[in-house]
Symmetry: C2
Subunit: 222 residues, 2 copies
Amino acid sequence: MPHSPVLCTVDAVLLTLQQGALQVLLARRERAPFAGTWALPGGFIHPQEDADAQASALRVLQDKAGVRPPYLEQLATFSGPARDPRGWSLAVVYCALVPAERLQGLGDGVRLVNVDEVPALPFDHGAIVCQALERVRGKSQYSSLPVHLCGEQFTLPQLQAVYEAVLGEPLNKVSFRRKMDELAMLEPVPGALQGGGAHRPAQLYRLRPAFRRSLSLSPRGL
Amino acid sequence: MPHSPVLCTVDAVLLTLQQGALQVLLARRERAPFAGTWALPGGFIHPQEDADAQASALRVLQDKAGVRPPYLEQLATFSGPARDPRGWSLAVVYCALVPAERLQGLGDGVRLVNVDEVPALPFDHGAIVCQALERVRGKSQYSSLPVHLCGEQFTLPQLQAVYEAVLGEPLNKVSFRRKMDELAMLEPVPGALQGGGAHRPAQLYRLRPAFRRSLSLSPRGL
């Protein structure tokens, strides 16, 4: 049995939305290589401990940021001899979407930066962040993905604002609502209305349980 | 530096289309575990030799089947302690689409089976094949992906038949042609017409060079 000398790691691209801006979580590296620099949170797979690479990514996010993301999907695996100065390495990369309300009180070793203000990152982390944004924006065209950036309950105008922030463009209200109907992923929260004031109170919605772990996909984009 | 005991492998799901049926390539395993059984072609990553995991997959397909697929994309990475009896393992899985004309004269150790007649496979290869089909069918709804199952030149009715075989449903001719225009991935082969006979000769098309390695994506499905 050939024992492979490949370094097996995971990295996580954790995205959130604050004040209408998409943000990514960076962690300060405690160890070499690149000690002291900001990078994507990552670490080695621990075969004695981890049920699979996704479990490794969840462990890393818990350890480094104290966060357990409600939604996580595998982005891709990056590999080769040059991406890590320690040798031929492979990183299974996961993308996590987390509502901002779950990211209060982050510790010193982590911070959130706007995705269009990401500093130069070590390894191939810059390319990884680009690919994650491309995936999230692409999938947001035809799926329930952006809902995972919302809190538990939200109005349709709030949800539309989240889609617009992710896609980077305004959406037509009528076609947005038709699309939400087509995706059939929302349910009204019984008896829950928001606001009032000058406007008619707005119905609050939540994600249907079937779509907490898997996405609702539409055959046509927004 | 913790040397990880993770077994690092690649597997390939090579798909082709013959007589209107989608087929997957299986290879007879020469070595334990599961020696003699049919499985997806796969093997260890060779860090001394491979530029990345994709290069490993191309090497494995060349060695086992003598095929260099013109189109290959990463599907996902499968990992955990139970999928391989030798220990905690990780397989970076690639999906290849190859025109049938490139698969003539395959050797004894490989064969093509219809995707709805795949036998029980070792490891988690059954689940991997399912996920590959789901990906290919999903992406075919809104991209140029199925073109990679065609030969170099094809008529629009031939291409429509390929899309229909992959998607498993008939498509409306008018909306199919509108979709092809929208994808802007085809160019007529100058002066090349097919057939005649009872019908008007049909223009032959080919994929535009820009889309040989990357897909053309449509914001709306077929």
